[in-house]
Each structure stands twice: as structure tokens, then as C-alpha cells.
């Protein structure tokens, strides 16, 4: 998959090719927005070498700072390795989108350690919380105090950059028994109002922790009211949905919508249904870095498809 993405990169990745890539793979993603449409440009090193004409941003996810179990005794160490790769990129990304689970247990020292390492990049980081970031005594108070400035409700917000409208959603709070991820009526109403007045040609990037589409219901990998959010986004010509939570790559294209989930920098999780539970997957120590990573997205002005480049820590 990673190899194929690389090969495709040189010729430009078309919708058909992206569709053919609907498989699980392990790497990191660099996004490029081209013609207002984000597209994958290959693995991070190669993408950087491609010198995209648009602007790039990174997606990083599931750093789980504080995790120290068998699947990765040093989640802070592997985050440092990932950040070292970011710092070494010849073209600095405009910003980083973090799709949640910054910490493992929402402890102050875990947030502190994460902030210190992410801060080394010197670029703005746009966060949305994962469920692991909302389990302090105050049920999210710690996260919101640090990252919630200017956000609404449990931490959702939007912003514009290079003509692209970015929307950060929160689907990890107020979860219902037996259910999946949850956006809630208040957030959906906010989203509808946020999109009002935006022209259909505005490229949209939506990011949230749990996949908005249902990837595997039995493990809770989806959002109960995610379809309602996607319905609101249907009229737009380019919609890119970035998620984390499942610690593995999943890409899918449906009409004008592209779905992508990122690798974790902490530990991998099994493919849907391939293990008794979605818990941390233990892989041989020398293989760990092949299943951790980050993604680069390049946004190129012009009528080109979205470019996402996944990069593992081993590459």
C-alpha cells in the first residue's frame, strides 16, 4: 500500500487509484491541498522532496503519552522520533492537526510532556480531543483549559487557512450506552450554522477523533450521528475527513468525500475483527516503528486531487 502510494505519487493520485487503495496499511500521511482539494503525496520524505506548489499540513494522532505497556513501553520516545522527522522536513508544514488521544490518562504531566515535545515543531497545532483526553476528574476540564480557547461546547471549532475551511469536531463525550462516538444535537446545530453561507466550492477538511463513518461497529469504530454531519457536508465539491482512534490507516472515497484515518505514534491496534478486542497490539520490537507514523497533506491550488502521504517511523 505504502509502496503503491509512492508509485502513484509521481503520476498524481486519481480518484480511481485512491478507491483502489481502500486497504489497511501502516504509514504516516502528508496531505497536500491542490486546487483546494487535499491529496496524498506519498510518504513524508518523498512528499517533501516533491516540493508541492500549494501548502502542506500534517496529521498526527493518538500519541497516548503516559502509555507504558507491552505494546510500547515508551510512547513519549516514539513521539519524539516522529517530531524529529517533522523537524527534519525540508518544507515546514503550515500547521499540524492532532486527531486526539494526546495523552493516555489525561494526567497533567502527560499533557505537559506532550506539549513540550509538540512545541519543538514550532508550528501551530490544532487539536481535537480523544476519549483518553477527557478522563480527568473534571471530565474534560483539563483538556479544555489547555486547548479549548476559542472553541465551543466540548471543544469544537472551525478556522480558515489558504482558502480551505477546517472544522474540528468532538465525538468522544457524552457517549451513550451501547452506542458509538457521538456528536450530539448542539454540535450538529453549530455545524449547520458554521457551514451556512459557505459556497459549495469551498474545500472542506473535517477532523475528529473517532471515525465519522462506521468502520467496525462491534468495536465501536464509528460515530452514531456521523452520517448527519456528512449530510450537511454533501453539497461541497471537496470534503476530506481526517480521523484517528483506530491506530491504523484506512482510506476511502465516496463521491466528493475522502476519508482517512491516521496511524498512532504510540502503538498499533488490530485490523477490525482480527483479534478478540481492539486493545493495543503487541508486535516484535523491531517491527514497532513500521506501524507507527504520521501523515502529510498537501493542498495544491489548482484542479488536482487531494494528496495524503503516510509515513512510518521506520522510513
Amino acid at each position: 500500500m505504502a509502496k503503491k502510494g509512492h508509485d502513484d505519487h509521481g503520476q498524481g493520485l486519481g480518484r480511481r487509484e485512491v478507491l483502489e487503495c481502500m486497504v489497511w496499511a501502516g504509514t504516516g500521511v502528508l496531505w497536500a491541498v491542490s486546487g483546494g482539494i487535499p491529496h496524498s503525496v506519498g510518504l513524508i520524505g518523498e512528499a517533501a522532496a516533491a516540493e508541492p506548489t500549494g501548502f502542506t499540513f500534517l496529521q498526527m494522532s493518538d500519541s497516548h503519552i503516559g502509555f507504558d505497556k507491552k505494546a510500547n513501553p515508551d510512547a513519549l520516545g516514539t513521539l519524539r522520533e516522529a517530531i524529529a522527522k517533522v523537524k527534519a522536513m525540508p518544507i515546514k508544514p503550515s500547521f499540524i492537526i492532532h486527531t486526539g488521544d494526546i495523552t493516555h490518562l489525561s494526567k497533567p504531566e502527560e499533557f505537559d510532556n506532550a506539549d513540550k515535545v509538540y512545541g519543538e515543531t514550532g508550528v501551530k497545532i490544532h487539536y481535537v480531543p480523544g476519549e483518553h483526553d477527557m478522563i480527568d476528574e473534571g471530565q474534560g476540564k483539563a483538556y479544555l483549559e489547555r486547548y479549548g480557547k476559542g472553541s465551543k461546547g466540548a471543544g469544537w471549532y472551525s478556522y480558515d487557512d489558504h482558502g480551505v475551511h477546517f472544522i474540528g469536531l468532538v465525538n468522544v463525550v457524552d457517549l451513550k450506552a451501547g452506542g458509538l462516538g457521538n456528536l450530539g444535537a448542539e454540535q450538529l446545530a453549530w455545524l449547520e450554522a458554521d457551514l451556512k453561507g459557505k459556497s459549495n466550492s469551498t474545500p472542506i477538511v473535517v477532523f475528529a477523533h473517532i471515525p465519522l463513518q462506521v468502520i467496525y461497529k462491534e468495536w465501536g469504530w464509528g460515530t452514531d450521528d456521523g452520517a448527519q454531519a456528512l449530510t450537511l457536508l454533501k453539497r461541497f465539491g471537496s470534503v476530506t475527513v481526517l480521523n484517528g482512534h483506530i491506530h491504523q490507516l484506512a482510506q476511502k472515497v465516496e463521491g466528493n468525500m475522502t476519508f482517512h484515518t491516521a496511524l498512532s505514534t504510540a502503538f498499533p491496534q488490530p485490523a477490525p475483527g482480527s483479534a478478540p478486542s481492539p486493545g493495543p497490539m503487541v508486535v516484535p520490537a523491531d517491527k514497532l516503528r513500521t506501524v507507527l507514523g504520521l501523515s502529510t497533506v498537501t493542498v495544491v491550488q489548482g484542479n488536482k486531487p487531494l494528496a495524503i502521504v503516510d509515513k512510518t517511523l521506520a522510513g
Partner: protein, 125 residues
């Protein structure tokens, strides 16, 4: 156990009352020990373990006044949350436990607040 009971019943039916008394005196300590063992077993039965994102046993019936303990054996934190907000644990890291004493009768559905597909039930009689 079922076999033992039926065996004792058929044996007792063949005994005269005096013989039955003697048998009861002999069996007394044995039955006492069995009752004591039953109490220990009942205490173990009031523990719900969390393994592989699953509450086990998924459904538990206890008497009012019983304390139930949840223990998380996963490498991922879980919580124990009653939908009606009667009880809610903090995040349970690996091997952390949460206990709650059910004072009165009722049916208490609960789930993991982080992974809500994980559900369980306590019935208090």
C-alpha cells in the same frame, strides 16, 4: 453437586430416623464446610472483571446490600458508568478496581464511558 444431592436423598430414604440422625451428625461438618465454601464462592461472584473490552459476567444478580467490585485487566483504561447516573467510576487503568454497594433493589444497566459498546447489568433483589 446435583449427583451428590440425589445420591444423598436416595440413601436417606433407605435409613430409619435414628440412622438418618447419625448420618446427619457425620455429614454435619461436611455440609458446614460446603456452606462456608459457598460463601467464599459468592464473594468471588461479586467481582466483575474487564478483559478484552468485555464485562464478565455481563449480568449479575445479587441481594440488596451487596458490594460489587469491577477490576480492569486490559492495557487500556475503562470506566464503569450507570446510565441513570447512580454510580460512575473514575478511569480505571490496568488492574485498577472500582466498588459500589447496591443498597436497594433494582436493575442497574451500566457501560464503559470510553467504549460504550461495552455494557453490563446488575440486578439487585
Amino acid at each position: 453437586m446435583q449427583y451428590l444431592n440425589s445420591h444423598l436423598r436416595s440413601a436417606a430414604a433407605r435409613f430409619t430416623p435414628s440412622r438418618a440422625l447419625v448420618v446427619a451428625m457425620i455429614l454435619g461438618p461436611v455440609v458446614g464446610a460446603m456452606l462456608a465454601f459457598g460463601t467464599v464462592a459468592a464473594q468471588d461472584a461479586n467481582v466483575v472483571t474487564i478483559d478484552n473490552f468485555t464485562f464478565s459476567p455481563k449480568e449479575l444478580t445479587v441481594a440488596a446490600g451487596t458490594t460489587i467490585k469491577w477490576v480492569n485487566h486490559d492495557d487500556i483504561p475503562h470506566t464503569v458508568v450507570n446510565a441513570d447516573k447512580v454510580f460512575r467510576s473514575k478511569a480505571l487503568d490496568t488492574d485498577d478496581a472500582f466498588s459500589y454497594t447496591f443498597a436497594s433493589a433494582g436493575t442497574f444497566d451500566y457501560f464503559c464511558g470510553l467504549h460504550p459498546h461495552m455494557v453490563g447489568k446488575v440486578i439487585v433483589k
